[in-house]
């Protein structure tokens, strides 16, 4: 019984062609499942979301795993997840420590990619998470949503923002340490030091980090990547 339609983008563009072929191993499935909040949410990943075919990168679960792979292994020294180090290192730890459950649904409110309702840690990811984000983008989204467990957006987008001047959804500034800051910092580190990836994907992280820095803070941080 189909409950929602999806268009799968070209998998060479999203990185899913590579990850799907490479990481289909039970050791990764088990690690991601029990580390990033999937356990106990299995029913939301059934019914066509991929539970029954967890290496099929057309389907949401394998694509979520691909994001988890990037989140877990993009630091060269991935075993070090000390908060004193690079965001690339501690991002996966932050997600692990602040996500209670990770559920899949077709559609979220107002076309959302994902949400962390009331900052509960019960994160929901929706069709755009699987089908409009590439694998590093999914990793960044998990960090962004996890940060909403502590802080919500508290400001309006500034003049010249691509997100829409005057709309709600910005963070007041970099020092607020909100979800946009965490996301931008992750992308910045990914650009600077991302491992097991290509210069092109690191360049995309740079472009996205800059657009976030330029548009998602009511007060510009004064940086450019």
């Amino acid at each position: 019984m189909a409950i929602c339609d999806a268009t799968v983008p070209d998998k060479t563009a999203t990185g899913d062609a590579f990850y799907g072929a490479s990481i289909c191993g039970q050791q990764y499935v088990d690690y991601f499942w029990y580390t990033y909040g999937f356990t106990g949410t299995g029913t939301t990943w059934q019914s066509g979301f991929g539970y029954e075919d967890c290496c099929n990168t057309d389907l949401p679960l394998a694509r979520a795993f691909n994001g988890c792979y990037v989140l877990t292994y993009s630091a060269a020294d991935y075993l070090n997840d000390d908060y004193a180090g690079a965001c690339l290192n501690w991002a996966r730890r932050y997600v692990r420590e602040h996500i209670k459950t990770l559920s899949a649904k077709c559609d979220g409110p107002s076309g959302a990619v994902a949400q962390n309702p009331s900052g509960s840690g019960d994160i929901e990811v929706y069709s755009p998470f699987f089908y409009t984000k590439n694998a590093p983008g999914r990793a960044e989204t998990l960090l962004h949503e996890s940060r909403h467990g502590a802080l919500f957006h508290n400001a309006k987008f500034p003049k010249g923002s691509t997100f829409g001047e005057g709309k709600d959804g910005a963070d007041s500034n970099w020092a607020y340490n909100g979800a946009w800051m965490y996301g931008a910092l992750y992308l910045w580190w990914y650009y600077a030091q991302g491992a097991r990836t290509t210069s092109a994907l690191r360049e995309l992280a740079r472009q996205r980090a800059n657009v976030v820095i330029d548009g998602a803070f009511a007060e510009h941080p004064g940086y450019s990547v």
Binding site: M1, A2, I3, D5, A6, V8, P9, D10, T12, I23, G25, V29, Y31, W33, T39, G40, Q46, G48, E52, C54, C55, P60, Y69, T72, D81, Y83, C87, Y94, R96, E97, S110, G111, A112, V113, N134, G160, T162, F163, G164, D168, W174, L185, W189, Y191, A192, R196, T197, T198, S199, A200, L201, L204, Q207, R208, N210, V211, D214, G215, Y223, S224
Partner: protein, 239 residues
């Protein structure tokens, strides 16, 4: 491991589909030439690959194709044939053209940067997919390409000045500003500075490009670790 409910590779067939894959999008083949189309897909797959050798593999592919004008034209034609909402595919094609670093792409990139940005389609731009943001990322990427070509004698100063002086988006003005700075055209930089000042965006010229290590990092007092055990982490693929 409180519940043993992880899916199993090749198993769990008892559940029925409820999500319908309506379409599997592929890059359109505008060449009619199986070899060229295969090369295009090979290059794009290398671009988005992973693993310890990913960047080396991508570099080898780019080095092999650099200077192949027929191939670069194919990439540009493919870009025009991809549907508007296929942002990831469009970005990959633009980045490939940039990495091939051939001046014949200059006119296309300049024209692309000038294209009007379609109206926002997202209802919630903070948590949805802001289509304006996606379009701007395509253009800032193209501007980066123009910056690189500026250093290879393709003069993109006019379009960069247009963007600096009139774009609705800070991100585009900022990208064009730094492209001019990096291009080393002193007269262009001075004109850009005047345009930014006139339009109330003079502060863009004061932005600092610094290594990420020098940026303010997260405030560790605000992290609130809960010490969830990490568990045994498997080694990355192929390592």
């Amino acid at each position: 491991m409180p519940i043993d409910d992880a899916p199993h590779v090749g198993g769990n067939k008892e559940f029925g589909d409820a999500l319908n894959i309506r379409e599997r999008r592929r890059y359109p083949d505008v060449s009619g030439d199986e070899r060229l189309y295969g090369t295009l897909n090979e290059a794009l797959a290398a671009m988005t690959g992973g693993g310890p050798d990913a960047d080396e593999i991508y570099s080898r592919v780019v080095d092999r194709l650099r200077g192949d004008e027929e191939f670069i034209i194919l990439v540009l034609k493919t870009l025009d044939a991809v549907e508007e909402s296929a942002y990831l595919e469009r970005w990959a094609l633009i980045q490939l053209v940039i990495d091939l670093a051939h001046p014949i792409a200059g006119e296309y990139l300049a024209e692309f940067v000038r294209r009007p940005i379609p109206e926002e389609r997202a209802e919630d731009t903070a948590h949805g997919v802001s289509t304006v943001t996606e379009e701007v990322i395509l253009r800032t990427t193209a501007i980066e390409g123009l910056a690189r070509l500026l250093r290879r004698d393709f003069d993109s100063t006019p379009v960069l000045l247009e963007v600096v002086g009139s774009s609705d988006h800070v991100a585009m003005r900022r990208a064009a500003w730094f492209a001019l700075v990096d291009g080393g055209r002193a007269d262009g930089v001075e004109q850009a500075r005047e345009l930014l000042d006139k339009s109330d965006f003079g502060w863009i010229a004061t932005l600092k490009r610094i290594p990420v290590q020098e940026a303010e990092q997260q405030d560790r007092r605000l992290v609130d670790p809960n010490r969830t055990p990490r568990g045994d982490i498997p080694a990355p693929f192929n390592e």
